[in-house]
């Protein structure tokens, strides 16, 4: 559904952020986009949303070039940014202005969601806290029923119960014909939700794998449980040394996303050997 080919982008021509990046995303998945600060996660989301123009290469979303901004493209894409500015009007006024742009917008679902988040349609958007604004925009995004939903750090600013509600809503409104792409640093908030995992580093997609493949090839365990020669990456701790190791039995373990992320960024050669289908590109 999303085909990115040889994407090159930089805020200035001398300072290239993405260099010949390739990425394919398929419907029916909640992709988790991980990367260090400044790796360009938000920029990639904006490029896919058509809010920025590539220097070269193409971004095709469901048959439409993202940067052409056609109506057919725009009605199928919703972007939940990290920073939001809203006009000083009520939620219901905002919805009546915005929803005509999204023909599949489901008003009833929207009301259900904001009610669950403890908000009402009569509230003025400017008087809301950051977290409350976030809840509104998340609800709009999920209710829009666009085929592509991009979320930039959606759990930032959400309180503890809202994070749980967020996971429930994403699970509820995900469907076989939608793609969700969620960028996050809060991997623990979303650990059970995001699959496949996409990691960007040094201007490239360096990792794009399903949890099924990851857990088949890699073992997430403690140092004493594996042969030293199978260890790919270690994090020493007081209680135990956490490791990512080769998985010879194929028996799956619980994936620790923080450990995976660090292993991908630091142990490129060994990770390439363990996941030969995965070209970790540098």
């Amino acid at each position: 559904m999303i085909e990115i080919n040889q994407l090159t982008f930089g805020y200035t021509k001398r300072n290239i952020l993405y260099d010949a990046l390739d990425l394919q995303l398929k419907e029916g998945n909640i992709y988790g986009l991980l990367g260090e600060n400044g790796a360009g996660k938000s920029t990639l989301l904006m490029l896919i949303a058509g809010l920025k123009k590539p220097l070269s290469g193409s971004i095709n979303v469901g048959g439409h070039e993202a940067d052409h901004g056609s109506a057919e493209f725009l009605r199928e894409v919703f972007f939940i940014p990290e920073e939001m500015t809203f006009p000083n009007i009520t939620v219901s006024d905002y919805i009546s202005v915005l929803s005509p742009f999204y023909p599949k917008f489901n008003h009833q679902h929207f009301i259900e969601m904001i009610t669950e988040f403890g908000l009402s349609e009569d509230q003025k958007m400017n008087n809301m806290s950051y977290g409350q604004k976030k809840k509104v925009i998340i609800s709009i995004g999920l209710a829009s029923n666009t085929r592509l939903l991009l979320m930039d750090e959606p759990t930032n600013g959400l309180d503890i119960p809202s994070k749980s509600q967020f996971r429930k809503l994403v699970a509820k409104y995900m469907s076989d014909d939608r793609v969700f792409l969620i960028s996050t640093h809060q991997v623990r908030d979303l650990e059970s939700l995001i699959d496949p995992i996409v990691i960007v580093d040094n201007g490239k997609v360096v990792f794009n794998e399903t949890l099924e493949t990851i857990s088949e090839k890699l073992l997430f365990t403690t140092a004493e449980k594996v042969e030293a020669s199978d260890v790919i990456y270690v994090e020493n701790g007081v209680a135990e040394d956490k490791v990512v190791a080769m998985n010879h039995s194929g028996e799956p373990s619980r994936i620790n996303l923080e450990l995976l992320f660090n292993a991908v960024l630091t142990e490129k050669t060994k990770m390439n050997q363990a996941l030969p289908t995965q070209q970790i590109k540098y």
């Binding site: 029916g28 998945n29 909640i30 749980s164 996971r167 429930k168 699970a171 509820k172 995900m174 059970s192 939700l193 995001i194 699959d195 949890l211 099924e212 857990s215 365990t221 799956p252 373990s253 619980r254 994936i255 620790n256």
Partner: protein
Amino acid sequence: MEFNNNKAIYLQIIDLICEKVLKGNWSEGDKIPSVRQMAVELEVNPNTVARSYSSLQDDGVIFNKRGIGYFISENATSVVQQFSKAEFMKNDIPRFFKTMNLLGISIEELSKIYNQQIN
């Protein structure tokens, strides 16, 4: 539900359903929550639940009536018992024996305790 850190989540969902069968919360022929309902309840990716269900279906614990949903199979209890026993033998028993050995507990001593507890 709190997931533990060691086991893949799709396997923990399988365990959850097997436990419900063994405890009798879900009986043979009962309809179980849909993939979506389960995903919302557990706050996990629906694809993960789908994978658990597909594996349980392959093993004959649940079956799918097209368009209606998933149900507990007729001989689910005995299938789950067999699986749980095999897993107990493979994972729990070796760990248990290792600890016994470490603490110097003899099989006679254990047998005495076992008989006391069971009777």
